[in-house]
């Protein structure tokens, strides 16, 4: 499949008010297939919003290229680019009705009134606001304004939709509902979505692929399950979800932990880090565990469907585990042995610290 959006070696630095230089994009390259939902995920200041603004044309790259459908748009001003944006605070035109907001791109493009009215009607249907066209924007709730912003950005049939943390102002229930709707709309329209968020759960739920950004670089770009289970580096492993990171020594065919436990691995010799997700740990396993950890329960939280346990072990320090609730409740101070299956182990070729 040809690349729909291609960012090539993008660099962008800002001058800070203090006189320093902040590198927002440090040579980012990424390709997006058409109809793909890609999320840019990272802590604040990682460059994800800057990348989005460079794609939409509000910022210009210091060097590098942005190619949409085979043509470079790097030097093209924002109003001529075939992309539209859903803004974080919606940025609706509050002196216009809902319908005029949604039809703005068409009005600007000089389409005739009847065509605009038809398209606006379609868009309002799509986002579930049918019949609200005559309302003033200020009469709408936050969730409805969000939908107007989405309809407005889609009305002009962009080749690519950019979304800048669009759900961050909504409460949790509404946010989850909108996540599903956004995903459904994206599938229905079959256009590419580039979604910026710092909410990893949101990213994992919605995306075809997630690009994890930090320090102006893409740390890893992969499908959510790959990213979560097989992170390429320590940053991704640590940033995404909860993790236990244990140093190991590799010896050809086996890896050895600090307490002398070993497990088989095809990695060459050297030092590495074992990623052990808390939910990979559990009680006795039928096939026999690959690794076992014994320690004293230092903390435990009950969340309804599971217990979150912090196990204090002599060799590895604290190890976090999530145990499905239903059996015996763990108690602080009690000794406990937890086991991990071979399939729950993932090695990262990097050493912490």
């Amino acid at each position: 499949m040809p690349a729909h959006l291609e960012v090539v070696a993008a660099r962008k630095a800002f001058r800070t008010p203090e006189g320093g230089v902040m590198t927002a994009l440090d040579g980012i390259s990424v390709k997006l297939a058409s109809a793909e939902f890609v999320t840019l995920l990272g802590p604040s200041g990682c460059g994800k919003t800057t990348l989005l603004r460079c794609i939409s044309g509000f910022e210009t790259l210091d060097s590098g290229d942005i190619v949409i459908d085979g043509s470079a748009v790097t030097q093209m001003p924002a109003h001529r680019r075939p992309v539209n944006t859903v803004f974080q605070r919606y940025a609706l035109f509050n002196h216009m009705s809902v319908a005029r907001n949604v039809g703005y791109a068409l009005e600007i493009a000089g389409k005739d009134k009847r065509e605009i009215r038809t398209r606006v009607g379609e868009m309002l249907d799509l986002v579930g606001l049918a019949g609200l066209g005559k309302r003033s924007v200020s009469q709408l709730s936050g969730g409805q304004q969000q939908r107007v912003a989405l309809a407005r950005a889609l009305a002009g049939k962009p080749k690519l939709l950019l979304l800048d943390e669009p759900l961050s102002a909504l409460d949790k229930n509404l946010r989850q509902k909108m996540q599903q709707e956004l995903k459904a709309i994206q599938r229905e329209l079959g256009i590419g979505f580039v979604f910026v968020t710092h909410d990893q759960e949101e990213a994992l739920t919605m995306s075809d692929r997630i690009a994890v950004l930090a320090h102006g670089r893409i740390q890893q770009i992969d499908a959510p399950s790959v990213l979560y289970q097989r992170p390429a580096n320590l940053f991704t492993a640590d940033f995404l979800g909860e993790s236990n990171l244990l140093p190991v020594t590799l010896g050809g065919t086996t890896a050895t932990l600090a307490d002398g436990q070993t497990f088989a691995t095809p990695h060459p010799a050297g030092r590495a880090t074992l990623l052990l997700r808390p939910e990979a740990l559990g009680f006795a396993l039928p096939d026999g565990p690959a690794l076992s950890f014994t320690g004293r329960i230092a903390e435990t939280y009950y969340s309804g469907k599971d217990h979150q346990i912090t196990l204090q072990t002599p060799a590895h320090g604290s190890i976090r585990a999530v145990i499905r609730a239903g059996g015996q409740s763990p108690e602080i101070g009690a000794d406990l042995t937890l086991h991990a299956p071979a399939i729950g182990l993932h090695l990262i070729d990097e050493v912490a610290g």
Binding site: S56, G57, F58, P77, A78, H79, R80, V83, N84, T85, F87, R89, A91, L92, F93, N94, H95, M96, Y104, A105, E107, I108, A109, R152, A153, G156
Partner: protein
């Protein structure tokens, strides 16, 4: 005591004093002027209590044929005042709009300082400031000396005592009146909306027409009204910078009350100004209602 009664008493307590003040010191004199404008001027000043429509006639087209023929001079002064006031509104808008835009994008500290600078002229007496303009504009003034010194002109240009000088002076005086309401609406403008407009395909000019202008229209209308009203009735600027050549209605009213001692005629002129202002306010209300709906 029931709630409604208490509310009424509260309202009276809060609004009673200002209402009484305005009734006695604003509405009262206005009523006197209205009555005077329909009376006959006394021979030695004051009024004779005889009904007369000729005060308005002298302005609008019929005169007391025993003493004078109708002369449209008063009407032309009135029209000139409308024109100069309108010009003042336009020039102060042209100066203030970009300035307000620029200042609203400054860092907060510099912004406050810039707004302070805009209001700074209020700290100096108006007369002093206007005589400073005389020094600048007169034939041997700074402006003409500069123009001749650089060889752009060989003769001094008559700036002083022209429409130009009056509009310049009034623009100078009323810029803060225009600036502050404009700034209020421009500062509220959401920059993200401008980006959204560009994102949806609008050029800068389209964004200005469709987003910036409508969003700042309340400020433009507000600033224009509160500039136009005092500019229309202004008599200090035209008397210092316009001299006898550029008489405005404010000067005429002042003369009728202070020199000519023809209070009924002066009152009629004042009522004309007030009518013009009221018409304008009605138009503004209409516009505001349409914009707000």
């Amino acid at each position: 005591m029931n709630l409604a009664r208490r509310k009424v008493l509260q309202l009276i307590g809060l609004l009673g004093a200002p209402t009484a003040f305005l009734l006695v010191f604003f509405f009262g004199p206005l009523l006197i002027m209205l009555v005077y404008s329909f009376l006959t001027p006394g021979i030695y000043g004051g009024v004779d209590w005889v009904f007369s429509h000729l005060n308005y006639g002298r302005i609008l087209g019929w005169a007391d044929t025993r003493y004078e023929k109708f002369d449209p001079v008063f009407l032309s002064i009135f029209l000139r005042s409308l024109r100069l006031a309108a010009l003042t509104v336009v020039t102060s808008l042209l100066v203030s709009y970009p300035a307000a835009f620029w200042i609203s994008r400054m860092s907060p500290g510099r912004r406050d300082f810039a707004i302070f600078l805009v209001t700074l002229p209020f700290f100096v007496s108006l007369i002093v400031r206007l005589f400073a303009w005389v020094l600048i504009l007169r034939p041997t003034g700074f402006l003409n000396q500069g123009l001749m010194g650089t060889g752009l002109t060989s003769e001094p240009i008559e700036f002083l005592y022209t429409d130009f000088a009056v509009v310049l002076g009034m623009t100078y005086v009323f810029i803060p009146f225009m600036f502050l309401p404009l700034y209020g609406s421009i500062e509220k403008l959401d920059m993200a909306q401008l980006e959204a407009s560009a994102d949806l395909g609008a050029t800068r000019i389209q964004t200005f027409r469709k987003v910036i202008l409508p969003a700042t229209l309340p400020g433009i209308i507000g600033g224009s009204i509160i500039t136009f009203i005092p500019a229309l009735g202004n008599f200090i600027v035209p008397s210092v910078l316009g001299g006898a050549k550029v008489l405005m209605i404010g000067n005429l009213i002042e003369q009728q009350f202070l020199s000519a001692r023809n209070w009924p005629f002066g009152s009629a002129l004042a009522m004309m100004v007030m009518t013009a202002v009221l018409v304008l306010l009605v138009v503004q209300l209409r516009l505001a209602r349409r914009g707000g709906a």
